[in-house]
């Protein structure tokens, strides 16, 4: 419903995807437009379509204090009126062209993405709209009010849901003195004024703060022209500095009451930022712990052996600043304590001992073998290339991915988990647990 309410879920989904993403043999071309925006391009001529995504470092981490939700609402109303066009004209013209405009704001990023047919008579007018909404949004005051009202209602609704309550409490406990821990509330959204939105847009939706990714039926020359035109009217701006790194989490147990039949449990702590060398040992190790779906230890012990949960998982989500390690499960409220005990037992043992040789081989076989599946659509190419661009990962990230997975040893995993997943610092949040 609300982009803000969905923040932690969206982040989790993105993190899951990229925690396991990679590939070889995809040629990502990179250059800097004369505006200063960084551009990433993958030519893919198989289908007559084009995807263009513009990412700005304008996620909720940059919300003004006391106005949490500002990043999300700025992105949310960006395409509800721009230039001479009102919100209906924009939506109708896109529909007439068969084009889709999407995106949203998560913790680090605000994204605007366009999918269009590549025929010039469709592509060019669709790109005009993309440029218009990014550079000349109207931020109509009445529309802002309407969307604030809808957002507040959705936030109130989310705060009746055990999973949303748990997610919010989890992020607050992980990041007690850092923007990652601050989340939209009805009163912080109510406090947002049009001037705040305009100022946020001016400061963060700039060329220096943007990466543009193009994937599809397009020549390099055309891609260059499009990137030039798209970003020409963005203010030059400057790359926005990051806040100080997050400090220690509010470790220990946070237990929240709720009438649900099932308890929701999150266990975790902040770990690493994007590009940290511990990423590969953590990725490979986590496959065995709780990232490998049905074959992970958590799944086998919590679900298969005991029938405690339908869903149980762990993941590592590197962000621009240290992102979370997280275990999640849901179980009948009366057995929550038993399920936590089992999950903690598995985690503590894994941190101490790491995977077996056999488990390590299985993790590598899947992470390396599944490589082609991570690249077999334009959508996946776009997701990969835009992450590499936005987070400034090396351009050969995908080419070296398999070798880096292959090189991980049990000692590497033990060392990385020992550094990053310290049992004494863990946060545990339960909602509706007896």
């Amino acid at each position: 419903m609300s982009k803000i309410a969905m923040k932690s879920l969206f982040t989790a989904a993105v993190a899951l995807f990229f925690a396991q993403t990679a590939l070889a043999g995809v040629k990502i071309e990179h250059w800097v437009a004369s505006s200063g925006a960084r551009v990433y391009f993958v030519e893919s001529r198989v289908l007559p379509m084009l995807d263009v995504q513009i990412d700005f470092a304008a996620g909720s981490a940059f919300d003004t204090v006391g106005k949490s939700g500002l990043a999300a609402i700025t992105r949310g109303i960006l395409d509800l009126g721009a230039g001479e066009r009102d919100e209906s004209q924009i939506a109708e013209q896109l529909a007439d062209l068969g084009a889709n405009l999407a995106g949203g704001a998560d913790t680090d990023r605000a994204s605007v993405s366009l999918r269009t047919l590549s025929a010039r008579d469709k592509r060019d007018p669709a790109l005009d709209i993309l440029k218009l909404v990014v550079t000349r949004p109207s931020f109509d005051a009445a529309i802002l009010d309407r969307e604030k009202t809808r957002t507040i209602a959705a936030l109130k609704e989310a705060m009746t849901r055990p999973d949303s309550i748990a997610g919010k409490a989890f992020w607050a406990a992980l990041y007690p003195n850092h923007p990652y821990g601050r989340q939209a509330e009805p009163d912080t959204v109510a406090a947002i004024q049009r001037a705040d939105v305009v100022a946020f847009h001016q400061r963060y939706y700039t060329a220096a703060n943007a990466s543009v990714t193009l994937v599809g039926d397009l020549s390099r020359a055309d891609a260059e022209k499009i990137a030039e035109v798209l970003t020409a009217d963005l203010p030059k701006g400057e790359a926005v500095p990051l806040p100080p790194a997050p400090g220690a989490p509010a470790k220990g147990l946070k237990k929240l009451a709720h009438p649900a039949s099932q308890a929701h449990v999150f266990i975790g702590l902040p770990t690493i930022e994007r590009g940290n060398p511990d990423f590969f040992p953590l990725l490979v190790g986590n496959y065995t712990l709780g990232g490998g779906g049905f074959v992970s230890r958590l799944m086998k012990e919590v679900r298969d052996k005991r029938g405690y949960a339908y869903s149980v998982y762990s993941y590592i989500a590197p962000m621009r600043q240290p992102g979370p390690f997280q275990i999640g499960l849901q179980t009948k409220r009366s057995q929550a304590q038993d399920a936590i005990k089992v999950a903690r037992g598995i985690l503590d043992e894994f941190v101490k001992i790491g995977p077996t040789e056999e488990e390590l081989a299985a993790a590598k076989a899947n992470l390396i073998g599944s490589f082609p599946l991570r690249l077999d659509s334009n959508r996946k190419l776009l997701d990969n290339a835009s992450v590499i661009g936005f987070f400034g990962l090396p351009l050969d990230y995908l080419d070296t991915y398999q070798a880096k997975v292959q090189a991980v040893t049990i000692d590497d995993i033990r060392a990385a988990f020992g550094r990053r997943v310290r049992p004494a610092d863990l946060v545990t949040v339960t909602v509706a647990a007896d």
């Binding site: 924009i90 939506a91 209602a153 009746t160």
Partner: protein, 452 residues
């Protein structure tokens, strides 16, 4: 992990659909059909095995058994131990899962193309040789109960949807939830699951869909090798369980912890049976796009943006089903507005279509979106396999997908108006209301629909 296909996914898939190039098909001697769509854009492949059996084939007291069996399908055969199926797919660099709907149960693997043979061997093995072990069942039924708690018991909208169907249908098995009533899950035994498997999991009740970077002749040969030796068996003949004509609006209220009320209005709708002669399913599909196909479509523009009577509102129509079709409208009233206000506003929008029809511009726009979506859908090999599998599940050949698209393009404004007049009929309407309660169980705010 196995999951049941939710309504929204079915609705999203909708009717739209042609196949641009090749699909090839063959039928093995044991009755198993194999459909292959070659798509060489990337070195990967998808295998899906579809069984023409879903929750609508269950009987009272055993609701949920189709879905429970889907879970048990991962618990091993004499040659592949419990959990080994997932392990082998993972080792092959693949991903796998399964889903159960009212109409069918389907299993799939996405793999690097060299591994297609491995997963075909695995699926063939469990088509006839599943072990339904008592101990494994005892654990897995608990997992399914947790799934029910998560998806339905603690989800007010799901609960409302479950209750609404239980009221909208009386004789037809669509009245039962796919995941099953909790008491039926509690009473279910391994023998129930085994009986379900033995009755329905035979090659002549299944079809295999493969898409990806494959050669259809090679896939046919693999199918012959692995599925060919399995024996077919005559299937039991089901009873029709025809839903009697509904003769008046029905209303149901569900109380659950929530902030906002929700309204669902569900009309009995037509189902597509004859691709050439049927008209209304196509017309209603286009009407859905006109009402809710983009941000400035009628519902969002009028009800959310202009009149601000709703925070959100949707319409969904699924005409490709084995059982009765339904047209669903649902939404959340804006603060200060009631579900009765929202119901009246939705009725007014439908009355506007019935009285004045829709414009040529609106129809043209919906058709432009449809054409573009036919290109975009080719971006997903899995989506292409789903499309073939779903249309086949209702007994319509995938070969008709192109024709269905043409029929959608031929829909006129007069067709849309006529279908709206026929099907938005109060006598076949069921209205469901979520009455939100505070977390401590007290009522939050009045949410009852007005009487009509």
């Amino acid at each position: 992990m196995p999951y049941k296909l939710m309504l929204s996914a079915l609705l999203a898939a909708g009717l739209a659909a042609p196949a641009l190039a090749n699909p090839y098909e063959t039928t093995l001697k044991n009755g198993l059909r194999v459909i292959v769509k070659e798509d060489r854009r990337a070195p990967t492949a998808v295998q899906m095995v579809w069984y023409r059996i879903g929750s609508m084939d269950e009987v009272d007291g055993q609701s949920g058994v189709a879905h429970v069996l889907e879970h048990m399908m991962f618990k091993g055969t004499p040659t592949v131990g419990p959990g080994e199926f997932n392990k082998r797919v993972a080792a092959a660099g693949g991903r796998d899962n399964a889903f159960t709907s009212r109409d069918y149960t389907a299993y799939f693997q996405q793999v690097p193309k060299e591994k297609l043979e491995d997963v075909m061997a695995l699926e063939a093995d469990r088509m006839r040789h599943l072990t339904v072990d008592e101990k494994e069942f005892a654990q897995e039924i608990k997992v399914v109960m947790e799934e029910r708690r998560m998806r339905t018991d603690d989800n007010p909208q799901s609960k409302l949807y479950e209750q609404m169907n239980a009221v909208a249908f009386q004789a037809h098995p669509y009245r039962r939830p796919i995941i099953g009533w909790m008491s039926d899950l509690e009473a279910m035994t391994a023998a129930d699951a085994k009986a379900w498997y033995d009755t329905w999991y035979v090659p002549n009740n299944a079809y295999v869909v493969v898409t990806g970077d494959v050669d259809h002749q090679a896939v046919f040969a693999l199918a012959e090798k692995y599925y060919g030796p399995l024996e077919g068996r005559t299937l039991p003949v089901g009873k029709p369980q025809t839903e009697p004509k509904q003769e008046g609006t029905r209303r149901v209220t569900v109380k659950a912890p929530a902030e906002l009320p929700t309204l669902i209005m569900a009309y009995k709708g037509p189902t597509l049976r004859d691709v050439e002669k049927d008209k209304d399913p196509y017309a209603l599909e286009m009407l859905s796009a006109i009402l809710d196909g983009h941000d400035a479509a009628r519902f969002n523009k009028k009800l959310v943006r202009e009149d601000k009577v709703a925070l959100s509102v949707d319409i969904g129509y699924d005409g490709t089903t084995r059982g009765p079709g339904m047209i669903y409208m649902s939404g959340t009233p804006a603060e200060g507005r009631t579900v009765a206000d929202l119901e009246a506003a939705l009725r007014a929008e439908i009355a506007r279509v019935q009285k004045d029809g829709v414009s040529e511009a609106e129809l043209k726009r919906a058709k432009a979106q449809l054409i573009a979506s036919q290109v975009y859908k080719l971006d997903s090999m899995f989506g292409q396999a789903m499309e073939i599998g779903q249309i086949e599940s209702v007994g319509i050949s995938y070969k008709k997908l192109d024709r269905m698209l043409e029929k959608l393009q031929q829909v006129t404004a007069a067709d849309v108006q006529a279908a709206a007049r026929t099907w938005f009929n109060d006598d076949t309407l069921t209205v469901g209301v979520l009455d939100p309660q505070q977390l401590d169980g007290k009522p939050r705010r009045p949410a009852m629909a007005g009487r009509h």
